[in-house]
Amino acid sequence: MANTEFFDLFVETQKKMREAWDGYVQNVQAPKMPNGEFRELWETWYKKQQELFNDYTPATPTEVATKLPDLYRSMLEAQMAFIKGWGDASRSYLESLPVGDNQEKWTEFQKTQTELMETWTQQTNKLLMEQMKPFMPFASISGMENYSTAYREMFGYWDKIQELIKGGEGNIPNFMSPKSWTELMGNFTSFKMPEAMHQAAENAKTLFSNYNQWLLDQSTQFSEQGIRPFSVAGLDPWMNMFKDVQARLDKVYMPFNHMLNSGKQSEMISLLREAQQEYLNYAIKGTEFQLALMEAGRKAMPEVIEKFQEEYKNTQEMPNYEAFFQSFLDIVEKHLVELFETEEYAKLQNDLAIAGVGVKKRMDRFMELAFEGAPFTMKSESEELAKELQSLRRKIRDLEKRLGESQAAATTTKRSSSKAKTASTAKEKA
């Protein structure tokens, strides 16, 4: 491809991506924005996203020309460093290898390899647990911890609440800030989200950059501890696997180049981008979800205060915090259930869950592509086996059924013919 064509295509692609991004952000920006504060939050987030996007995707040929060579250079330097390190290490290993002692060395690197695989698997799971789960609505968050936090947080307002019960002036739903309400209701319902949209964007960025770094660290570790002895022993598939992983890493670090590619490489880039978008979608839906929960909490508070105001007027005795807390639970539950019964909530809850699993699905696929060729069974391969297994089980069930029917029919026929024979013999005798 000629240089000019490359740049034209590149810039055109950038433009399209930028347009799609702008459209996307404007669309998600349109829904309810109840007050100026929230609008400001959105605008800050939007600007931050634009800045991030601008840094990530240079829009002019000049920028492309200045950034791409650096990226290529860094890439080549990393490759060169790797190849040099590889050569040195291989030579050193071969020199240390005593003649006739191959069996011992073989055993040693087999052991190393097994340990490495275990570490790798553990690290993969750890990464998913740490990076993905905390952001999901179905994360198993300790109920006890949430309870304890909610209880303590609300107690922090107890002096203020007592003043309100005594008949103090004040806007009851608003005596706590929206942020405090959101946190409180999050603890009451075990739902947690990043604090604000700009933080969600930051989290998304951190998530993917951590992931890339982790992938790089793992592959480096793999080359140092695992690939070297295998390759020295002439086991080329291991080296090929590493190269495969390395090649995929390139794709992650060279998205501009990959946009012009096709096949799996392109799929990986798409998956990362889709996952990021889905994550933002999740964050947006999550914020709407939080807002809905917060409103339910704000509706409950005036009712509880009024109830205790009435009692205080009559008795001049302040209820204890326990009584107040229990009463709040009853009334907030009533409002939450009212909310949960609406069609809008059911839809929102569904959208939130679907966005959450959407991120997971894409990251799963990405992981599979990144580790394709590795000596362990992938989830999708297990799924193929599961499909085959289920199909075979159904065939066996069908055959068993037919066999049972044939046997039953044969028994009936035998009985009928036996009866007929007996009848005919009896007739003859008669």
């Binding site: 109920g143 539950e333 069609e343 869950a353 599961a386």
Partner: protein, 347 residues
Amino acid sequence: MSQTQAPTAEYMNTMRTWFQNLSEIDHVEIATAPRETVWEDGKVKLYHFLSEKKSTIKHPVVISYALVNRWEMMDLQPDRSLIRKMISEGMDVYVIDWGYAGIAERYKTMGDYINGNLNDAMDFVRERHGLDKVNLLGVCQGGTFSVIYTALYPEKVKNLITMVTPVDFSLDEGLLFRWSRNVDVDSLVDGFNGVVPGEFLNYAFDLLKPMAKMRKYTNLPKLAQNKARLENFLRMEKWVHDGPAQAGEAYRQFIKDMYKENKLYKGTYELEGEKVDLKKIDMPMLTIYARGDHLVPPKCTIPLNDLVSSKDKELYEFPGGHIGVFVGSRSQKELAPSIAKWLKQRD
């Protein structure tokens, strides 16, 4: 007692007793009634409960529990065990354990569960006892499976008992029904790679009574002063957090055919190409529902009585909630003896 006030001597004593009691409990066990595995196919097992006494009811009872949550709720602890009580009332009890669905089950369908596992288990028990028919007791979703099974194989079922079993899914009053109608089940199942995690379902169940967990923990310090009650609490916690994942295809079919389209109730449901006609249910039938059931409200269980052609049919109202049916004191004192009496009269 408040965690936020300055610790008083009373508070410190409460905490001390709590931790003392907790430290004396090494672990808790559930489902301890003696049993043996008599049949298994993959992860699915059939347990036969052992008894020193000979059963006084000739036809054994096969229990089909829901795929959601585990059957152990029916034998949570020795003094709160519907199964033990049923045995002591003279019943010979079998339970199907559907196992923990994983990737191997992701393509398992409702047909595989009902025409496959349930039918095989029923055939095994019939053959083992030399009987053409045995009793079938279905619980919750397992009850829906039992109803479908009985409509397809009426010649194998002596008496049908359904417990808190949803049949009419068109209701608006249950949150689970509203939410399930709105769920994009295809995206959900595919997003979870065909195996829907138990934690995900548990989160939805928690939201049905959104403050129940908060109340539970508020009451915990008081409850934990008594070691036996603390052990009961821990047993229930163990069961609650042991919700198995769902086989994706079966889950997809159940949500679509039942919650979204209400096919069983409408009479349009087909299992593996065979029409499920509830009028084919003509044997004696006992429909047990819980008055205060927030998961499966009575309105979605009672209509079964009008959909079958059985002449001998009875409704039994249990004064409690969904879980109370299995572990409530009335469950032991009244429900199990009533089932035994009903079965004896039709043995």
